[in-house]
Each structure stands twice: as structure tokens, then as C-alpha cells.
């Protein structure tokens, strides 16, 4: 069993779907931070069987984690101070998402102008519906 030590201040993102931690690493732009990051893949979990965990040692105001609410509701965000969990952060759906998902409407201007950022706005918070800023098409996740 692999042991990864405690962090003093920062976040522990737990219950990440197994294999998805690197995607989150990219979306949160952790590569741009000059801090310690532990990526734990395929950790044993009673609840999930297997899960990923991300530990980020940073000032707790440094990261905007709201995008996690869009990416995966099941992720638990533990806020760490002085080596202890001081809070579980509630994730709020972001009003706007930029360059995380792509508009799949072939009639959208983004389909021909490659330089445009893909921007979505939250059009219905209760139903968690995001629409493209340009064509207003509802976002639907690609089928796997």
C-alpha cells in the first residue's frame, strides 16, 4: 500500500472517478501552480471500488474549484488547514465555463472559426443546463 503524506494547507479532492484525476489536473490548471500536487490513481475505495485522489498544497484562496461541480458532482472537496480537515467545500455550478467543453452544434460559428473560445453559460441552475454563448444550443455530453 502506497502512502502519501499529509498536507499542511490546501485541498484534498476525494472520490474522483478512477482514471479521471489527470483530466481534473488539466481543468484546474494545476500545472501552472508552483506547489506540491499528489495524484493518486486507482486507490481502494469501499464506496467506489476504485477512486482517484488529488492533494494540492496551496493557499486555499488560490484555486477556483467551481468547475468541479460541472465536471463531477460526486467529488468531495476537503479543505485542509494545519494538517487537519477544517471544512468540506460546497461546490457551486459556475455561471460560465470557458474552454472546458466544446459546442457540438455543426451550425455554430465555433464550428468554422477555430480561434474562438468555447464559452457556455448556465441557463437553468435547477436542471443544470449550460448553453453555448454563441448559438445557445444546449450542451449535451458526447456519447461514449
Amino acid at each position: 500500500m502506497l502512502n502519501v503524506g499529509k498536507i499542511e494547507e490546501g485541498f484534498v479532492l476525494d472520490h474522483i472517478k478512477a482514471g479521471k484525476s489527470l483530466d481534473l489536473y488539466d481543468h484546474l490548471q494545476l500545472d501552472k501552480l508552483d506547489c506540491t500536487v499528489a495524484i493518486i490513481k486507482n486507490a481502494r475505495s469501499n464506496k467506489m471500488g476504485k477512486k482517484d485522489i488529488l492533494k494540492v498544497e496551496c493557499d486555499i484562496d488560490m484555486l477556483d474549484l467551481d468547475i468541479l461541480a460541472f465536471l463531477d458532482h460526486n467529488i468531495t472537496v476537503n479543505v485542509i488547514k494545519n494538517g487537519e480537515i477544517v471544512a468540506k467545500k460546497d461546490l457551486i455550478l459556475p455561471r460560465e465555463i470557458k474552454n472546458v467543453i466544446k459546442c457540438r452544434n455543426p451550425r455554430c460559428i465555433t464550428s468554422i472559426e477555430q480561434g474562438l473560445p468555447h464559452v457556455f453559460f448556465l441557463s437553468d441552475e435547477q436542471k443544470e443546463i449550460y448553453r453555448c454563448k454563441y448559438c445557445e444550443e444546449k450542451y449535451s455530453a458526447p456519447s461514449k
Binding site: 451550425r107 455554430c108 460559428i109 465555433t110 472559426e113 474562438l116 454563448k133 454563441y134 448559438c135 445557445e136
Partner: protein
Amino acid sequence: MRHLISPLDFTTEELDRLFDLAASIEREPGRYAHVCEGRILATCFYEPSTRTRLSFESAMIRLGGRVLGFSDAGSSSAAKGESVADTIQVISCYADICAMRHPKEGAATVAAGKSRIPVINAGDGGHHHPTQTLTDLLTIRNLKGRLEHFTIGLCGDLKFGRTVHSLIHALVRYPGIRFLFISPEELRIPDYITEMLREKDIPFEEVIRLDDVLPQLDLLYMTRVQKERFFNEEDYVRLKDFYILTPEKMKLAREDMLVLHPLPRVNEIDVEVDHDPRAAYFRQAQYGVYVRMALIMTLLGLAD
């Protein structure tokens, strides 16, 4: 700086002011014949739309302004691969206001984000065509004397018709509107619109035959039923006559019912109906010029 990208960009109060100005222009065109002197409208049409372009150009010329532009993407720098964002930044140096038509949805939004001059969306694919909606509203307001408390029948292709969708979204902001959707099963109004109407508790009905509901209507908004929308020729032949307005069908309608159509029509309104005083579609095209005049003045800050 204001733009007009979606039909809902203006509040109903702002629309009232715009329509009052359009009515004033209609009454006293001479008073407005020079208000845009020295101003230039750019018509950037990435796809041909003669009627809309000419309506904009007529509006600007009638205000004493001038126009420049292109009428298809092939004759513009888009053919060389220039982005909409770059084009509008250049056009901002040449003109004072821009009307843009583009086959892709959201193109006008992109332009408005980069523009230093007001942008009017003159149609972005199947998405919005706000000046058509303003035209429809002004026509109803002027000929009916009100924008509330009436029953409107929308007939034909209700699935793909963006003018119909925009008009519904604009009309639900007024009280007492009842909608009757008249279309073949294949071209029914999309679910997201009927859901929106249910949520707002706005009465509506969906029917197949125009004859069945004609006597109930204060307004009939006709659209074209295109053959290529049907799965097979048989269905088209069976259904198309339900959606052709003839003098015989007009006998079922009220004396004061108005017939509107965004034009161009093909055969869905018999030319004989043109002589009926209730046929308002050519007057609607005239109102299209007045409302564009009022819009240009408003966006250029010349309305007061």
C-alpha cells in the same frame, strides 16, 4: 454601446419607444429624411438575402445616410479566411453601424464582442432574425392597435421556422396571448417551446388543419411548408393543401383577422388572397423599413 442580437435584447418598454418612433417616421417621413446625414451603414451579408439587405439599405438611405457592404461571402475577405472578429474590427473603421447576416449561428454575437460600432443581427443561420420579429410586432401593433389580448394562429413549418420561434418568445412578454399551432405532425412546434408556454401558463393548442381553427383567429401568421421537410412525397401531397390559404378558406375567418407572412411566399397563400383587405403581408414589408429606420436611429443615439 447597444447592439441588437436577439429579439429579446430590448425590454417591452424599449420596444414601445422604438415602435412609437417607427410610427412617427411613417407619419412624417420628411422630418427624418436627413437625421443620418454623414453616417454610413455597412451591410455585411455572408449569404445572400436580397430582401433583408435592401430593407436595411432603404432604411438608411431614407434617413439620409449612406451604405456600403458585401452581399455574399465570396466577394468578401471571408473567402480568404478572415474571421468575423477581424472583419468587424476593420468595418468599425469604415462605417458607423453594421447589419450582419451570416449562415452560422452566433456570428453576430462574435461580431458584437469585438465591434466598436453597433451591430444589428440581420440573421444568423437558423438562430435569430430579430429585425423580422420587430417587423412582425410593429405590424401587429399598428394594424391591430395592440400587442396584447389576441389569439394568433401560426401555420406551416413550425419546427424549423426561426421567425415563428422568435415571434412566440417576443409575444409571451405581453398579456392575454393565446397560440394555435397549425402544422403537420412532422413539422410540429418544438417541445422546448411548448414546455416554456406550459411553465408560463400561456394557453396554446396544436392542430393539424387550418380550417378547423380559422374562425377563432385574430391573426394568422403563415409560413412556407417545404417539400424537402417531409419524409416522403405521399405525405407532402396529402398534407400540403391543408396549409394553403385560399379565398375559400378566408371566408371562414373573421372580418378583422389579419394575415401575416415573413415572405417570400411560394404557393402557401393563393395570389387571389392578396386582394383581401385582411392580407397584411405587403404592408408588413413596408413596416420592416420603418422599424429598421427607428432601430438605426436608436442604436446611433439619434432617437431623442
